[in-house]
């Protein structure tokens, strides 16, 4: 029982990370119908940026919560810009070409970030500085809730609430929803589709960066290929929730994190990474539109 609770806490923390990444997939898929393969690598860049910022700004030697907040937000800003840049250079010129073209450049960008990352950051794992010292907040029997777990979950929740506010209550959010609904109609209505798509990439990438920076606190080993598997898993989470659906991405991420942790704990840790694949196959077989997605029909 204790172990189950403990695993649930771990699973939720991982789930929150997946959810943040999954939101970016879902947003981009919503506006461009593109699986942004590079998204997992933006998450890696987020972790790397946080690492370097923490060192440059001196927070690595003098940890503080303020320091963490500064590192987190700066990393989000940098990756937001990176996301917009990727869209501008690699996706925008291909928007009217067959969708396959964009998918191929997305893979190219992903590999460029991974292997360029190995050149720039070095291929070996780095150790993320302890910006916030890990303490146990709560202990009942063998169950421990650390401040880091709580922080990861709370920051993720906070960001999701902000996102929800932006999407539902602001003009740009309305525009994002309109573009997701229909490209042509939106531009006829005077929405600047290019701006909306850029904003989508900025927000999605910033969320991934936040996930990257926070993952450094829990699992300090970071390296240039760290984004590959979480990227795939977060995508599966988005599909599970119903791609294009925001609450779906969050639920999908949490389900993914918890399932994976439980499988690793009770079954076999080597097959931890296989969980995502099995979930994907099952979803595609049983409910391809995902838990909350609607079946969409192409207009003929």
């Amino acid at each position: 029982m204790d172990q189950l609770l403990q695993q649930l806490i771990n699973g939720l923390a991982w789930g929150a990370i997946y959810a943040l990444i999954a939101l970016g997939y879902t947003m981009v898929y919503g506006v461009l119908r593109l699986i942004n393969f590079a998204h997992g690598d933006v998450y890696m860049v987020g972790a790397m940026m946080a690492y370097y910022l923490a060192h440059w700004l001196g927070f690595a030697v003098a940890p503080s919560t303020i320091g963490f907040v500064i590192v987190l937000t700066s990393s989000m800003l940098i990756c937001g810009a990176l996301g917009a840049l990727i869209e501008l250079v690699a996706y925008r010129p291909l928007r009217n070409r067959p969708r396959m073209s964009m998918l191929i450049t997305a893979i190219g960008v992903s590999m460029l970030l991974e292997f360029g990352g190995q050149r720039v950051f070095g291929p070996d794992p780095k150790f993320f500085p302890q910006l916030i010292e890990s303490r146990s907040l709560f202990k009942a029997g063998a169950v421990v809730l650390t401040n880091i777990d709580l922080l990861v979950i709370c920051v993720s929740l906070f960001l999701m609430v902000v996102l929800r506010f932006i999407v539902l209550r602001t003009k740009i959010g309305l525009a994002v929803r309109a573009v997701s609904f229909s490209f042509e109609t939106s531009s006829l209505m005077g929405i600047n589709v290019n701006t909306v798509i850029s904003v989508t990439f900025v927000i999605g990438s910033a969320l991934a960066a936040a996930a990257g920076a926070m993952v450094g606190l829990r699992n300090p080993k970071i390296e240039p290929l760290m984004g590959v598997l979480p990227g795939v898993k977060a995508f599966v989470a988005a599909v599970l929730g119903g791609i294009g659906n925001f609450p779906g991405a969050v639920v999908g991420g949490l389900v993914m994190g918890v399932t994976e942790t439980l499988v690793a704990a009770y079954f076999s840790s080597t097959y931890r990474d296989a969980v995502a694949f099995v979930i994907l196959i099952v979803v595609l077989l049983v409910r391809p539109a995902g838990l909350f997605g609607k079946v969409t029909v192409e207009k003929v």
């Binding site: 070409r97 396959m100 190219g108 460029l112 292997f115 192409e298």
Partner: protein, 315 residues
Amino acid sequence: MELLKRNAVPLLLVAAQWPVGWLLSQTVNSYYLQIIVYIGINAMLAVSLNLINGITGQFSLGHAGFMAVGAYVSAACSLFLVNGWPAALALPAILLAGGLAAALAGLVVGLPTLRLRGDYLAITTLGFGEIIRVVILNTAAVGGARGLGGMPPLSDFASVYACTIVCVLVIWRLVHSPLGKAFTAVREDEIAAAAMGIDTTRYKITAFVLGAFWAGVAGALFAHFIGYIHTNSFTFLKSVEVVVMVVLGGMGSISGAIIAAAVLTVLTEALRFLADYRMIIYSVLLIVMMLTRPGGLLGRHEITQWRFWSSRTAR
């Protein structure tokens, strides 16, 4: 008899690989011979992936995974099953075993995915490739993380090139036959193809399974050429390498895929001193190609604009 006469050229071509192989082994040093063999294997991979990605318009990122299945199953076969058979029997047996195992894996991955939109296949096959690696790494019977060695050197220049020729011929004749035109139709417009009575899912699965089969054969040939295999030879990067070949050659062009396979294999060797930058070069190549020459080197055209199906040859 009639069959032999109608297929004399391909048959002679296949048979000619043995004397050519002998000649090469007498004249070319083993390093170059190895590169030449790799060209054959990569051409087989590129042409079979081209059937899936270029001609049928799906997007598989799992070719290395199918290659791994073929390599490991065939290796297990030759080590444990057909051990001691004469090479002339053992070779076809392990090639078939590797190919069929990969085809079966392709069916398992393809059935749930190919009913849906093409881009889901990309992520499913990517996941599949990773899972296969995890499974192999954790299976002690095939060596796990140590890799698997000791396979007899059943394949050589002649068998690799004979298989490559057969692979190219089968795929070429398939997609240029009246029935096979539907593969291209699926790529061009799935809804229109369905409205013409084409069972699009079936065509997609056929392409995918056949592509996986040849990737498995390529894996089997590879395993029995170098005699030692490790999952590191079948990572996601290998899949991407094959995708780069298909893109470079022009999505849908069979001859383009072969040329691109040769060019990239040679370049990879020639640029060995740039090894650290190889993947960076590949990725930039992919992006720049898509932005500037999305049709690839040859576009959708074949190097010969010869049509097997046309009034000329039908008579």
